[in-house]
């Protein structure tokens, strides 16, 4: 039985595939996109976060800390402070768990999946960073007839992706941009492997939704969107394409992790509805089934 690290299990998710879904967020991601909505997913191991607005300055964390709490770089993420914190201001992001335990949580909402045509979505981070763990979870779902989706940027070797594909009912395949240099600048990785994975996946899977974040100052140009539309139209197995407008709802997260907010976030604005419609048309022109993501 395999174990892995997850950092959230969100029930009643309505926007990660059809119906009512439980989204399991697997921790760890090789990319570093500045607009990432889940910066707490980056590190592969559990870590401490602190929400200052919940802190009542009771010092329970200081008393509990094996390292005297300061300096931060001495933190071993042992979790003693989070355990001691009465308000939940300090909390552990991520926990080591077994596939069996996660599946027990998934099963709780089975009735809702059945009544709404929903299921489970594995997201991240990059869920394929934990392929054995992911595969066991997918196998359990399949054995119990639960619909599965995997939300991936395909930042992984091709082999595990293809290996998992038969257990996945729906791929939510994230494409960020077509240009390799731009991809490298925006995410810290190139996109050659991703595009190769899309092609390989298209050969074996028939239900892929491509999801494209529309990020101001990164890919929000007609040229980039046209190129992405070309990629989407050329890939096999693609049923739908979703354009997801950037939004700033994650802005409080870096501070909780003791990180600085990326400089781009200060000026980034959500794209206008009209811009989204114009981009969508580029995809429609190529005969793609295009949706614009909800707020």
């Amino acid at each position: 039985m395999s174990s892995g690290v997850i950092f959230n299990l969100q029930r009643y998710s309505l926007h990660d595939g059809p119906g009512i879904r439980t989204t399991v967020f697997l921790k760890g991601c090789p990319a570093r996109c500045w607009w990432c909505h889940n910066p707490e997913s980056h590190a592969a191991t559990p870590e401490i976060a602190c929400s200052q607005n919940r802190c009542i300055s009771c010092d329970a964390c200081l008393l509990a800390c094996h390292e005297g709490l300061r300096p931060r770089n001495a933190c071993r993420n042992c979790g003693a402070c989070a355990e001691a914190c009465p308000t939940g201001a300090r909390e552990m992001i991520g926990r080591e768990t077994t596939a069996a335990d996660v599946f027990k949580e998934i099963l709780k909402d089975r009735m809702f999946f059945e009544d709404s045509g929903g299921g489970v979505t594995f997201s991240g981070g990059e869920p394929l960073c934990q392929p054995a763990f992911l595969k066991e979870l997918l196998s359990k779902c399949r054995a119990h007839g639960i619909h599965t989706a995997v939300d991936t940027a395909a930042l992984c070797p091709t082999e595990p992706l293809i290996d998992l594909a038969p257990l996945v009912d729906l791929f939510l395949f994230d494409l960020k941009c077509a240009d390799n240099d731009l991809h490298l600048r925006g995410t810290g990785t190139g996109n050659a492997a991703i595009l190769a994975n899309l092609e390989a996946l298209g050969r074996v899977h028939r239900n892929i939704w491509i999801r494209i974040p529309v990020v101001p100052g990164f890919n929000d140009t007609a040229q980039e969107m046209e190129a992405l539309a070309g990629l989407a139209a050329g890939a096999a197995g693609v049923r739908e394409v979703w354009l997801l407008p950037y939004h700033g709802s994650w802005s409080a997260k870096p501070a909780r992790l003791g990180k600085k907010a990326p400089k781009e976030a200060a000026t980034a604005q959500a794209p206008a509805a009209e811009t989204m419609d114009n981009f969508a048309r580029l995809f429609t022109n190529r005969g793609l089934d295009i949706r614009i993501g909800g707020v």
């Binding site: 329970a60 909402d109 809702f112």
Partner: protein, 786 residues
Amino acid sequence: MTGRTERLREESLAAEPAISAERALLITEFYRENEGRWSVPVLRAKSFYHLCEKKTIYIGDGELVVGERGPAPKLVSTYPELTCHSLEDLRILDSREKTWYRVDEACLKIYRESVIPYWEGRSLREKIFAALPEEWHEAYRHGIFTEFMEQRAPGHTVLDDKIYRKGLLDFKKEIAQAIEALDFAADPDAWARREELVAMDISCDAVILFAERHAKLAESMAAATSDAARKQELLKIAANCRWVPAHAPTDYWEALQSYWFCHLAVITELNGWDAFSPGHLDQHLHPFYLQGVESGTLTEAGARELMECFFVKFNNHPSPPKVGVTAAESGTYTDFANINLGGLLPDGSDGSNEVSHLILDVIDEMHLLQPSSNVQLSRKSPDAFLKHTLKVVRNGYGFPSIFNADAVVEEQLRQGKTLVDARAGGCSGCVEVGAFGKEAYILTGYFNLVKMLELALHDGVDPMTGRQLGPRTGRAESFNSFEALFEAFRAQLSHFIDIKIRGNRLIEMIYASTMPAPFLSVLTDDCISRGVDYNAGGARYNNSFIQGVGIGSITDALSAIKEQVFERKAIPLADLVAELDADFAGQEPLRQRLWNKTRKYGNDDDYADDLMRLVFDAFFDVVDGRPNTKNGVYRIEMLPTTCHVYFGSVVGATPDGRRRGTPLSEGISPVQGADRNGPTAVIRSAGKMDHIRSGGTLLNLKFSPTLLFDANGLDGVAGLVRSYFRMDGHHVQFNVVNVATLKRAQANPSEHRDLIVRVAGYSDYFCDLSVELQNEIIARTEHASF
């Protein structure tokens, strides 16, 4: 809405609730002259006849459905034979900040000179309070339970289809036959039955007269008007009033008018709780609607306009004013008249039809406080019906609420009703289940479950007053296991339920002997065939209920004690109790730990949810099946109206970190802000309760409109409802919040911890969001406003 109904609606909204002394004066005059001349049932019937004969008749400009309880819309009658308001009560009603009723000098004068001098010392309320023992009064004063019948009569009653098949003249024939069949030699109660039946007969005459007076007024108004169209309407109104409710209605318009006269008659006769309700109105009207449309005498638009006029009539009738504790337990203008939509037909097939959808549209368009409405959703109800319902819910106001029609049937079968009677039943009031037209299902009072734990922790002493209220069940330090503490809780619960039931039976006896309701008895099977009054057990079924309040709060309190005191041994019970008594003064970290780190009900965590079931079972075991005085039994319900606020005000700090005097959890919803895993987890927790053994439970889920705004949201909520009902959940209500609520939540986060909003493709607790994001959501909600 048409121009007509838009205007009637505006007038109804603009009219100020005010007390009318007309009924009080008429009833006082009649009693002063006649009390003691006849048997009690006949006296009640003749006094009712006097009201119908003398009261002011009102027909408003443009109205199509006519009749008011008071002399004009929003003028509210009083019932001094039940509760004689003092001058001080009337002044409070006039001046209180919420749910006020204007009282003018003329009204005060009538009360001072006529009403009070006669009724002081004679009203039912005074008789009840004088007769109840001191143990009852002490518990009542300390907020252990409330009493429904101390100022309003037994009600919670719903009509079935009988008035659409028969007129009052038919019922008079049945009454005559029942008198004819009395066997004075064999039946020692035959004379009592005869008096009751004579009273029922008189009450039918009274209502026919009441309708006839409307016919005459309509005719004279028709003669006086120069508006040809209005003249035709008034002549049709006159014809309607002359025909119904004496006879069975022959068309859709008459059907509405017939119900409305019966409604007015029931709420004039007595001030029964929850007014009166039409039940499965869509099912009852459907044949008339079809017949009208097929014969070309009724259009869809015409049917809609009549329905809108009918809705305005409900809104014209604020609840009779309540005072004291009873005002605190349900302080609202709404009188809880409730319309059922959908459900099942007696043969078990789906009951929704065109009229169901028409009424949903009217609810959506009218946005009135009254009438309440609910949808009875069965396995057989089409998804289109559920989606239509949710679209109406999305537009705010929390209506209609949604019930599980299949569970409602099963609950009634457990109570021993026939399948046909159970299917023809449904829900009224807030969430209460009954067999429509065949049952007196009486709520008797809210019961403070959390107070029982507080007493168990204090050896029966109320820490708020220092009084030894309950039995001595052991001091906190004496409990060496959770089970021992729970036994003390059970002992306190049993002690006070006994006090409540003893008091209830006394009150039932007083109503049966002094306050019969002959007209309501005509409308309720089998009062005529038995010759027994509604208030004396004449109905086919007679369930009485005690409503438990605070299941979420007590579950969390027990969970905190079980884990922190008995398992982790983090704090001795006596120390914890000392901190509760000090309201956690200087112990904020402890309070925060209890508040944030207790395993709480509403999170689909069996540790807490099993404790909820333990409390539910204890409450059920001590109440269910105990006999009332009407050949029925006591049962439990789980609903609070607004009583969780009052009960919270008399309970000290609790082990879940709740502060002294703050509200308890509401219905079977989790403690405000305790649910952290989203709506499916709340529903799973609530679904672990055995709803079938209750007579109704209330689950309130709060959503922002944006969460319901797009198709995904609507589909998601539809899935939530279907799944909850597969778990035998009884009722769910979606409280759609508006911008004002969001702003209040921003200012007072602790009171709105349970507010769910859609953030960005996911949902979150509003109060956990940054101020900036909160502002963004407020702006978005404003943008997406209805």
